[in-house]
């Protein structure tokens, strides 16, 4: 019924954000606490660009800007710190989050911002006998395109092969002659670019504020960990499952709905510590 579709929408949104985190973790083995911050910056950049250039251009600008930021991030933060303990990079991403929030607050102010859906997506369709916003179908569509795109890229291109190899065994892949540094930069850029994309999509759904990252980062981590930190399919499945059960929880078990994602994660980790599709490292 319609509630199932609603669950798909939230799951799709989570997927686009989470898969970016998976990409970054897969290659750099970094728990990126600043991912929520990238999401937030993506939302603001697309909003700022959209004011003058329209929603679609705003989306492109946001993805491009965040991807560029990802390249810099990999070069100047992840790469030099890759020799240190992972906790060091984790802390740096925390620091980055603080800085990003303050920067955005200074530039765009403390007031909330609400973005309307672009005209092309502003209407609604009849679905299962009730009015359903086109924009939400768009969100599902974006997730499907991203999932298919990634799957194709990973399986059908040479670079994709390197990425898959690197996420299973970075050392051996490096020894085989793959320039893991250039590869990482590329992949991290896609990861942050996807954060920018999910930030753009979030605009017409939720209020923009400098601290908006904090509202989805936990769910995002839950999806990534449940799916198996380096698995894209895992993230897809986890996102859809968690989105679905969370939404069903809101409908039928509202008292416990907010802990359902947490419970699912604990359950999965308890039965399969490497996550649904994780490879065990």
């Amino acid at each position: 019924m319609i509630q199932i579709v609603n669950g798909l929408v939230y799951g799709s949104f989570l997927y686009v954000l989470a898969v970016g985190l998976v990409l970054i973790f897969g290659l750099r083995r970094v728990t990126n606490f600043a991912h929520g911050g990238f999401f937030m910056v993506g939302a603001y950049v697309s909003y700022a660009a959209a004011v003058h250039l329209g929603f679609w251009t705003g989306m492109v600008v946001s993805v491009a800007a965040l991807a560029l930021f990802g390249v810099l991030l990999d070069r100047f933060v992840f790469r030099p710190l890759s020799k240190e303990e992972p906790i060091v990079t984790l802390l740096v991403t925390f620091g980055l989050l603080f800085v990003l929030e303050d920067l955005v607050r200074t530039i765009w102010g403390k007031d909330f911002i609400s973005v309307a859906a672009p005209d092309a997506l502003a209407g609604s369709v009849m679905l299962f006998g009730s009015q359903f916003p086109v924009y939400r179908l768009f969100v599902i569509g974006v997730a499907v395109i991203v999932a298919l795109g990634l799957a194709l890229w990973l399986r059908a291109t040479r670079v994709g092969l390197y990425v898959r190899a690197s996420s299973v065994d970075p050392v051996t892949t490096g020894m085989q002659g793959v320039d893991t540094d250039r590869l990482s930069a590329f992949v991290v850029a896609i990861g942050t670019g996807l954060a920018g994309l999910s930030g753009t999509i979030a605009g017409p759904l939720m209020a923009l504020s400098p601290s908006m990252g904090g509202y989805i980062i936990i769910d995002c981590f839950i999806v990534v960990v449940t799916g198996g930190l380096t698995s894209f399919t895992g993230a897809f499945v986890a996102a859809l499952v968690i989105g679905q059960f969370h939404n069903l929880g809101l409908v039928y078990l509202p008292e416990v709905a907010s802990v359902i994602p947490l419970l699912i994660m604990v359950l999965v980790l308890g039965l399969r510590p490497q996550g649904l599709a994780g490879t065990g490292k």
């Binding site: 802390l91 740096v92 925390f94 620091g95 303050d102 936990i218 930190l229 802990v259």
Partner: protein
């Protein structure tokens, strides 16, 4: 468990002077620190300074708990606020429902987090490190949600006061609420905790758990039980987190779900890592420095997040072993330069 310690010692941290001299030095340092702490209220007249230092020390104790877990188990807890907040709420709820005498509640607020940590630890310390971390996050967040929703019990986000009797353990309760005396209480607690953990880390148990941290399989093959020691470490870490919560509840006399929130766990983790978990005294040092710096910067500007964030990045990159690593390096260099 009858194998000599020396088999596993080589991979463990600092080799130094003979154990006797080291523990002697530890005791002397502890006594000096305790004396210094007692002297502080006389030297520092400002109530403001004293209250800030008291609160810094309370967070230092929480950070110590997290650091100990990292050091002995190699595990990072993303949810230590669970132990902290649990202790706070136990005291608050006991104050409301008058179930047991306050002294018993205080002890329970340290024992219960320890027991829960032990029980949970038996299951989760076996997991891959990130799975462990995420589960600690999940448990803490679930507790947070529980306290937020169960309004009839604890008033939700509006919080509840912690009612205390007029005397506690024979002392008037003002002892725990006036900055000058509470600072001494908290400081002594911190020094004793660090002393105990330092002694523990040098003991057979401490060496064993580090060995398990480095290579669990090998320790098991040698014949050691590897699960229970790790769970015990987690329990100790939980107990210390509970202790911090107790002191917080006594001093602030107010409980809110914020005491269980992941942002508190995150801040305490930052404090522990900035201090450097390799040394037992690293995390409390990091906590106090972080607290003081954050407070000072917040005094100056509302853009403190940018400054603190940037500082965090710089400090972490330049000092991957934290402040304690820096101090140890300096001390070593001074020693090397001695004629």
């Amino acid at each position: 468990m009858s194998e000599p310690v020396s088999r596993v010692a080589p991979t463990v941290g600092a080799t130094g002077p003979a154990p006797r001299a080291a523990s002697g030095r530890m005791l002397v340092s502890a006594v000096l620190l305790l004396a210094a702490g007692v002297a502080v209220p006389w030297l520092v007249g400002s109530q403001l300074m004293l209250t800030l230092m008291t609160q810094a020390v309370i967070y230092a104790i929480l950070a110590t708990a997290i650091g100990f877990l990292i050091r002995q188990n190699g595990l990072t807890s993303f949810g230590h606020a669970a132990f902290f907040g649990l202790a706070v709420y136990l005291l608050a709820l006991n104050g409301k429902f008058d179930l047991v005498p306050a002294e018993v509640a205080v002890l329970a607020a340290i024992a219960l987090p320890a027991a829960l940590a032990f029980a949970a630890g038996l299951v989760i310390v076996r997991l891959p490190p990130l799975a462990f971390s995420m589960i600690t996050l999940a448990v803490a967040q679930s507790l947070h949600e529980l306290m937020l929703r169960w309004r009839e019990l604890a008033n939700g986000d509006d919080g509840m006061p912690v009612r205390l009797p007029s005397t506690l353990f024979g002392f008037g309760v003002e002892l725990f609420q006036s900055p000058s005396t509470m600072f001494v209480v908290c400081w002594c607690a911190l020094v004793l905790v660090v002393l105990a953990l330092a002694a523990l880390s040098r003991s057979h148990f401490g060496v064993l758990t580090v060995a398990i941290r480095e290579n669990e399989e090998r320790a098991r093959y040698i014949g050691y039980q590897t699960l229970v020691p790790r769970a015990v470490v987690f329990a100790i870490s939980g107990a210390i987190g509970g202790l911090a919560g107790v002191l917080f509840a006594l001093y602030n006399a107010f409980a809110t779900p914020g005491a269980l929130h992941w942002s508190l766990s995150g801040e305490a983790l930052i404090m522990a890592v900035i201090g450097g978990a390799k040394a037992v005294w690293g995390p409390p040092l990091g906590a106090m420095v972080f607290f003081v710096v954050k407070d000072a910067v917040g005094d100056l500007t509302e853009h403190w997040p940018a400054i603190i964030g940037a500082t965090l990045i710089v400090v972490t990159v330049m000092l991957p072993h934290g402040l304690s690593g820096l101090v140890e390096r300096i001390v070593r260099r001074l020693k090397d330069n001695r004629p």
